[in-house]
Each structure stands twice: as structure tokens, then as C-alpha cells.
């Protein structure tokens, strides 16, 4: 596998070696073959028909059929969600279902379901009409009853008055009027019905205007919303009765009723008939109700029988559709007897693919087996890393920046450790680390449950990064122990503090401070520093220097990675004119600074390192004076400065000239191209030259400018990237200060009151602040800063990231993409 000289192969360090393979599949076993390859999921098919539109392709009609079936399935799903049927999980037997049978079955089920739906709609409509009718009968009946009773009361009163008094002042025409009234009343017609409440006002107004006021409208509200027969929705309605006279008015009223969507119902004045009708309507309603319930029951049964197999069918249809999509990518032979497929596969999968081909041709009783052959191409293969659930999330971090070029050194390898480590440098508190650890362990324990269900956006992200969080928390427990902070409280876990009072009285501890009486505290920061006045100056100096040391180490690792790349691709130009001068430049300046830091710590010297570094550039020949850390330092500085100055043109100039020479050497006497045996390979090559090795046109100026930019970027980057690592110090400082504030100003303050309520409130505020600010916000910001340090400061030393991902045809992947 590893062709990179003496470097043995390592998981995840380089992407899998890939090969372009060609399959020649007999047409009768094509479907089976593609299906088996989909199960295997290790072959990325190339579209050989990219010039054809989807409709011109061989299997367009099958795809259409699959699309139709998918539509039916979607219809079932919709009906199921309406009917409250939950499709059961895909735990049923994997019985082989024939596609044709399934298609017929789906068609039958669909028409049955549509018929049931139509019938139940009709019944439902009739039912709601009856319900409305009943309401009208009741309400309008009330009108007539009250009107009649009041009329009879009035009449009785009048009669009583007539018979009782019979005086002179009683109107003479009363009797006449009354009899006239009586005759008129008979002629009055009326319309009764139901109207939506929000339309009522307009309805009344229009009626009034249309009949010029010659109507009498009586209406009353219905308390509960009524199901509208047409729309099937619950609407608030009013019962109305419109009295009118004359046929023309009637026609007008009818039209207006229709326009307003008011449902009219016949009504009789006679009380006896009314009661009869009400009982009749009630009887029919209950009859209809039972019919509807039976229909619903039937529908529910049908849906649940669909639901039990829905997932299986859905999967099958999706598989089938993807198979035909893939088959459409294959080019059909002129004899129409076989299909030719081309695609990328990892080298290790050769046997598996051949095995799948054999099984397919055996299972489909094909006389001829499929042919498997490896093609040679100059095209860049896709990048494929074999990751597991632990490494994939880290690889994702790298891929988010850019997918690695084929077989390029993968920063994902070191990211697994350095990413959580740099995070933890900014998040050093073992109390918070334990909280994170518990959270990530919770997610990991419930992994099976969560991975099968759909989660919210944020939860999904957290769950996807559960192993990153696990590593981050483990490292932050470690760095927390180093920083000696547990929710900002120090512990003397590793022996007694190295500091003590100068004398027995301990009088000058607040002015001159303690003195070191023992050996250095063996692990981490001495607990005595916490809360002292000199804590900040000490920690700042420590963390700042630590950031630079860690940064220089990581940048050196990045440059060494570029060496492994140069070695792997046998590019000695990059080794000699990029890797070596870069190493020299970085280490003669910042490597030297790191050495100075360590020497200063070991010797306890008071030299000013800023001054030293600045004057190394400004006046390198001056005497160092009291800033000298070791003899011969001035000369060493001169040598280093000289090396750094030489390294810059070393990086810039030779490489473009050497590339030019190499190009000329390669194309000497190559004025004629070799004739290719078949046309296809010419076409293939022509299309790949743009990003292949054959630099047909060598623009010297372009290469030179590219190198110039690269050099400037590196030289300036060396300074700015080193400075960028100071974010480790800044974030770590912010984290420890914030947690100190929460601990002292909230928890300790509340404790000081000696009051249980205040203490409870204090604890509550402390917990919320710790979780909200430190565990969520700070984790996020430290995560982002660690991400930046990896993407920019580490990866720009070696990572090209211009590859493309291997996306094999796999049934395991089609489940997610459709939804």
C-alpha cells in the first residue's frame, strides 16, 4: 500500500490509494450487479452519459415508474399522518418483493384508499348537512314558536280589550286591519338557513339593499362551531330566517344566499311537521354516523396495514430508483448486450468488488460474467479516508476547511490530539472538565438511541461532536490539574506548596511575599499563587510564554508535515527549497526565542527577552550587556539573523527557475504527440489535462508570482502566526478570571450572609452562570479559537486541501439524502 519510500503506511495519514476501474456488465445481470455494488458501497460511478439529458437515457422510463411509486408512497405517508397511523420501524422480515408486484399492489392500495376517501367525504358532507339542517329546524322553530306565542298573546290582549271595553275611542278599523294582516301573513314566504358569522353583516346589508328593505331578517347565533359541509372545516355560524314577499324577491334572496355561501334548508311552519322532521333527521344522522365510523375503521385498518410495510417499501423504492440512476450513468455498448461502467474504488476493495460481480452474475443466471479491469489515468482520484465513529468527527473538522488532495498528508491525524489539547489549554479547569466529561459520556452511552432518531439542530451538532467533546474534556481535566483550578479553587493535591513565610511571625507576607523553601511544586501551578497579589503577573508571564512555546512546536510540526509530503510525492525541489529554508527561518527567529525562554527559566536570569529580540534586528552587533543569557550569545544571534536573511531568497528564487528547467527538459523533442490507440483515451486525457500533471503551458511569471506570494506569506506569517498563538493565553486568562469571579462574587458572597435563602439563590446563580457562561459560551469560543489555530496556523504550513471527496454509490447513504 505505502509507496512513499521508507514511510510505512498509517491509518488516516494518507487517503486510501484509489484506482479507476472499468466494469463490463452483461445487460441481463446489470441490475443485480449494481444492487450488490450498492450494498458494498465502495465504488463511485462516473457519469459516462453526461452529454445526455435525463430523458434520453436508457432507463428513463424505469426511473419514471419509481418516481410514480414514490409519489404513491408519499400519498400514503400523508394519509397516515392525517389518520394518526405511525409507520412501524423497519424491523420486519426482508422478504424479497418483486418490483412489478409492488407496483401493482401500490396502485391497488392507492385506488382503494382514494375510493374510501371519496366515499367518506361524501358521507361526511351529507352528515354535516343533516346536522346543519337539524340546527336550523331547532333554531328557526324557536323563532316561530316565540313569534306565535307573542302573537297569540297580543291577539288575546286585543280581543280582551275589544270585548272588555268596546268604547268609543277604540279604533274602528281594527278588525279590518287585523283581518287584512291575516291575509297578508299567508302570502309571506321565507327562507331559512345557515351563514358564517363573519359574513352575516354584509349579508344583511346586501339583502336589505337588494329588496329595498322589503325583507325581515331574523337570526340567532349557534354557540358551537359547525362543520361546513363544503369545506369540511369548523366554522362559527348563525341561523337566519328571511321573510319576504313576492317571487322576485325570492329569486334575489336565493342568489344572494348562494353568493354568500349560506346553506338554505327547507322549513315548514307547522309544528307537528317540524317535530316529525326533527326526529327523522336525527334518525338519519345517527345512521350516517355509524356508516361513517365504519368507513373510518376500514380506512384505519387499511392504513395500518400499509404502515406496517411502509418503511420496507419506501426503502425498496428508493433503492430501486438509485439503482436505475446509477445504471443511467453507464454507457451502453453498441451491440446493446452489455453496459460499460467506470468508477473509482479503493485498491483494497478490489476483491470485494470482484466477488460482488461474481455473485451477481451467478444469481442472475447470466451466461457471461462481468469483466473487471483497472484503467490508468492521469486524473486525480477522489480522497477517501476510512474513518470510524471516533475519528470521523475529527476528520470532519479538517474537511470543513477543505478536502485533502489525493494522498496528501492529513492534518486530521494530529488534530485528534492537538485540537482537544489546544482547546484544553484555553479551558483549563478540572471541575468544568468533569462536567463536560459527564455530558459527553451521557451522549455516548445513549448513542444507539440518539443516532436512530431525528434531533434538533443544536442537539444534532453536539451529538455529532460527542467524541470531540470527550477528548476535549479529558484534556481539560489534565490542564485543569496543571493550572490547579477546580471551579477556580486550588488544591494541594501533589504535595505541600513550595512557598512559606520568611520567618515565624509571617509579618511581611503582604509586602515582600513568601519565599521558596522547598523544591518546586511537582505538578502544575503552586496553590499558593491563587489569590495572591502577584498571581496575575506570574500567570500572564507563564501563559504567554507557554503559548509561544506550544505555537512554535505546532508550527514546526506543520512544516515537518510538508516534508513528509515532499518525500511522499518525491518532490525534492520542495524539500530543498521550501522545507529547509522554512525550517531555518522559523527556528532561527522563534525557535531561538523559545530556547531563550527556557534558558531564562532554567537560569533564573532577569534578562529582558523583548529587548533582546527587538535589538537582535535593530542593532545586532551591539553588546548585550545585562541581557546576556549565555556566553557567545551575540555571535549566535548574528549567525541566526544571517541564516534567516539567507532563507528568504532561498525560498523565493531557486524554485521557479528549477521548475522552468524541468519543464523544458520534459518537453524537449516532444513536438509530436504519441498516437493513441482509441479515441476514448484521448478524450479522457484531454479533459483531465487541466488538472493533471501535464503542464502544457508553463507561465514562468505566474509560477514566480505564486512563489513570491508563498514566500511573503510564510515570512510575514511566521510573525503573525506566532502572535496568533497568544490567543491561548488570552482565552485561558479570561476563563480563569471569569470562574474566579463567579466563585468569589457569587458563591462566597452568598455564603458570607449565613442565610439559607441567600445561599440557595447564590448556588442557583452560580450553577446557571457556570453552565451558561463557562460551560457553553466559553466552550464554544475556545472551540472556535482552537479551530482557527488548526485551520490557519497549523494547516497553512503544508495543507493544500483542494481534493474532492470519495462519494461511493451506497444504499447505506441514500436513506438520509431524500428527506
Amino acid at each position: 500500500m505505502g509507496e512513499g519510500g521508507c514511510i510505512p503506511s498509517m491509518d488516516l495519514f494518507r487517503s486510501e490509494p484509489m484506482q479507476l476501474v472499468q466494469l463490463i456488465i452483461p445487460i441481463e445481470s446489470a441490475h443485480q450487479t449494481v444492487s450488490y455494488l450498492g450494498d458494498l458501497g465502495l465504488l463511485q460511478f462516473k457519469d459516462l452519459n453526461s452529454d445526455k439529458s435525463p430523458f434520453q437515457r436508457t432507463y428513463a422510463s424505469q426511473i419514471k415508474r419509481c418516481g410514480e411509486m414514490a409519489r404513491k408512497l408519499r400519498f400514503f405517508k400523508e394519509q397516515m399522518s392525517k389518520g394518526g397511523v405511525v409507520p412501524s420501524a423497519r424491523a420486519m422480515s426482508r422478504a424479497d418483493i418483486d418490483m412489478d408486484d409492488l407496483e401493482i399492489k401500490l396502485g391497488e392500495l392507492e385506488s382503494e384508499l382514494i375510493e374510501i376517501n371519496g366515499n367518506s367525504d361524501k358521507l361526511q358532507r351529507a352528515y354535516s348537512e343533516l346536522v346543519e339542517y337539524k340546527l336550523v329546524l331547532q333554531k328557526a322553530g324557536e323563532f316561530f314558536y316565540t313569534a306565535r306565542s307573542s302573537a297569540t298573546a297580543q291577539q288575546r290582549e286585543i280581543e280582551a280589550r275589544q270585548s272588555g271595553e268596546g268604547s268609543l275611542d277604540s279604533p274602528l278599523l281594527l278588525e279590518q286591519e287585523m283581518s287584512a294582516d291575516h291575509t297578508k301573513q299567508v302570502k309571506l314566504g321565507f327562507v331559512s338557513g345557515l351563514i358564517p358569522r363573519d359574513k352575516l353583516m354584509a349579508f344583511e346589508r346586501i339583502l336589505f339593499r337588494a329588496t329595498r328593505g322589503n325583507v325581515f331578517i331574523k337570526q340567532t347565533t349557534i354557540e358551537d362551531p359547525v362543520t361546513d359541509p363544503v369545506s369540511g372545516e369548523k366554522v362559527e355560524k348563525n341561523v337566519f330566517v328571511v321573510f319576504y314577499s313576492g317571487e322576485r324577491a325570492k329569486a334575489k334572496i336565493m342568489k344572494i344566499c348562494d353568493a354568500f355561501g349560506a346553506n338554505r334548508y327547507p322549513f315548514t311552519e307547522e309544528m307537528g311537521k317540524q317535530a316529525q322532521m326533527i326526529t327523522e333527521v336525527s334518525g338519519r344522522t345517527s345512521e350516517l354516523k355509524t356508516t361513517i365510523d365504519l368507513g373510518l375503521m376500514h380506512r384505519y385498518n387499511l392504513l395500518s396495514s400499509i404502515g406496517s410495510q411502509y418503511e420496507q417499501w419506501n426503502l425498496l423504492v428508493r433503492k430501486e430508483k438509485s439503482i436505475y440512476h446509477t445504471l443511467n450513468m453507464l454507457s451502453i455498448d453498441v451491440t446493446k448486450k452489455c453496459l460499460v461502467a467506470e468508477g473509482w474504488s479503493p485498491v483494497f476493495a478490489t476483491h470485494q468488488i470482484q466477488d460482488a460481480l461474481q455473485r451477481a452474475s451467478f444469481d442472475s443466471n447470466s451466461q457471461v460474467g462481468a469483466v473487471f479491469q483497472i484503467l490508468h489515468t492521469k486524473e486525480f482520484p477522489p480522497t477517501y479516508f476510512r474513518t470510524n465513529k471516533f475519528t470521523s468527527s475529527f476528520q470532519e473538522i479538517v474537511d470543513a476547511y477543505g478536502v485533502a488532495k489525493y494522498q496528501e498528508a492529513n492534518p486530521g491525524l494530529y488534530t485528534i490530539v492537538t485540537f482537544p489539547f489546544l482547546f484544553a489549554v484555553m479551558f483549563g479547569d478540572w471541575g468544568h472538565g468533569i462536567c463536560l466529561l459527564l455530558a459527553s459520556l451521557f451522549l455516548i452511552i445513549r448513542e444507539k438511541k440518539y443516532s436512530s432518531q431525528k434531533l434538533g439542530d443544536i442537539m444534532e451538532m453536539t451529538f455529532g461532536g460527542r467524541y470531540i467533546i470527550l477528548m476535549m474534556s479529558v484534556f481539560s481535566i489534565y490542564t485543569g490539574l496543571i493550572y490547579n483550578e477546580f471551579f477556580s479553587v486550588p488544591f494541594e493535591l501533589f504535595g505541600p506548596s513550595a512557598y512559606a513565610c520568611r520567618d515565624a511571625t509571617c509579618s511581611d507576607t503582604t509586602t515582600w511575599g513568601l519565599i521558596k523553601v522547598r523544591d518546586t511544586y511537582p505538578f502544575g501551578v503552586d496553590p499558593e499563587w491563587h489569590g495572591s497579589r502577584s498571581e496575575l503577573p506570574f500567570l500572564n508571564s507563564l501563559k504567554m510564554k507557554m503559548s509561544i512555546l506550544l505555537g512554535v512546536a505546532q508550527m514546526n510540526l506543520g512544516i515537518i508535515m510538508s516534508y513528509t509530503n515532499a518525500k511522499f510525492f518525491k518532490n525534492s525541489v520542495n524539500t530543498w527549497f521550501q522545507f529547509i529554508p522554512q525550517m531555518i527561518f522559523l527556528n532561527s527567529l522563534f525557535g531561538y526565542l523559545s530556547v531563550l525562554i527556557i534558558v531564562k527559566w532554567c537560569t533564573g536570569s532577569k534578562a529582558d527577552l523583548y529587548h533582546l529580540m527587538i535589538y537582535m534586528f535593530l542593532s545586532p552587533t551591539d553588546d548585550l550587556g545585562e541581557n546576556q543569557l549565555f556566553p557567545g550569545q551575540r555571535n549566535l544571534q548574528l549567525v541566526l539573523l544571517g541564516l534567516a536573511l539567507i532563507a528568504v531568497p532561498w525560498m523565493l528564487l531557486p524554485k521557479p527557475f528549477i521548475l522552468k528547467k524541468q519543464h523544458e527538459a520534459r518537453h524537449q523533442g516532444e513536438s509530436y504527440e504519441l498516437l493513441h490507440s482509441n479515441d476514448e483515451s484521448v478524450a479522457v486525457e484531454a479533459s483531465h489535462d487541466s488538472h493533471g500533471h501535464g503542464h502544457e503551458e508553463f507561465e514562468f511569471s505566474e509560477v514566480f508570482v505564486h512563489q513570491l506570494i508563498h514566500t511573503i506569506e510564510f515570512v510575514l506569517g511566521a510573525v503573525s502566526n506566532t502572535a496568533s498563538y497568544l490567543r491561548l493565553w488570552a482565552l485561558s486568562l479570561a476563563h480563569s478570571e471569569l470562574s474566579t469571579v463567579f466563585y468569589e462574587k457569587v458563591l462566597m458572597l452568598a455564603w458570607g450572609y449565613n442565610n439559607i435563602f441567600i445561599l440557595a439563590i447564590g448556588v442557583l446563580v452560580f450553577i446557571f452562570a457556570t453552565v451558561g457562561v463557562l460551560l457553553v459560551m466559553e466552550t464554544l469560543s475556545a472551540f472556535l479559537h482552537a479551530l482557527r489555530l488548526h485551520w490557519v496556523e497549523f494547516q497553512n504550513k503544508f495543507y493544500e486541501g483542494d481534493g474532492y471527496k470519495f462519494s461511493p454509490f451506497s444504499f447505506a447513504l441514500i436513506g438520509d439524502e431524500d428527506e
Binding site: 500500500m1 510505512p8 485528534i416 490530539v417 518546586t520 511537582p522 507557554m546
Partner: protein, 69 residues
């Protein structure tokens, strides 16, 4: 405990961890090398962190001055 002894402890822990990884999940040479790289990187990172903090406190230029309370 001096600088060297603790460094030796770190090395020992690293060696034990890599042996542990080698014995417990032996999955072919390339995966073993991968695990070894992870263990070495982690050990080096942790050791660097510890060494930096230890060295910084070796010869203190400033000492803790207690605040007046």
C-alpha cells in the same frame, strides 16, 4: 521530584499506554502505527504543558505576595 524523574514518569506512562493500545486493539500494522502516533502526540503535548509550568516555577523571579485581608 526533579525534572528528570517526572519526565521519566511521563515517558513510562507513554510507553505503557502504547503497549496497552498495541495489546488491547491490535488491528493490523497501519492501525497500530496510528494508535502509536496518537499516544505519542498526546504524551508529548501533556509533557510539554507540564514541563513549561514546572520550569517556569523553578527559579522564581517573583514570589507570591499575599493580599491584605
Amino acid at each position: 521530584m526533579g525534572f528528570l524523574i517526572t519526565t521519566l514518569i511521563f515517558i513510562a506512562v507513554g510507553v505503557i499506554a502504547s503497549l496497552f493500545a498495541r495489546i488491547c486493539c491490535n488491528r493490523g500494522p497501519s492501525t497500530n502505527l496510528f494508535h502509536l502516533t496518537l499516544v505519542i502526540t498526546a504524551t508529548v503535548c501533556c509533557w510539554m504543558m507540564w514541563a513549561i509550568v514546572y520550569l517556569a516555577q523553578l527559579n522564581p523571579l517573583i514570589v507570591p505576595i499575599l493580599s491584605e485581608e
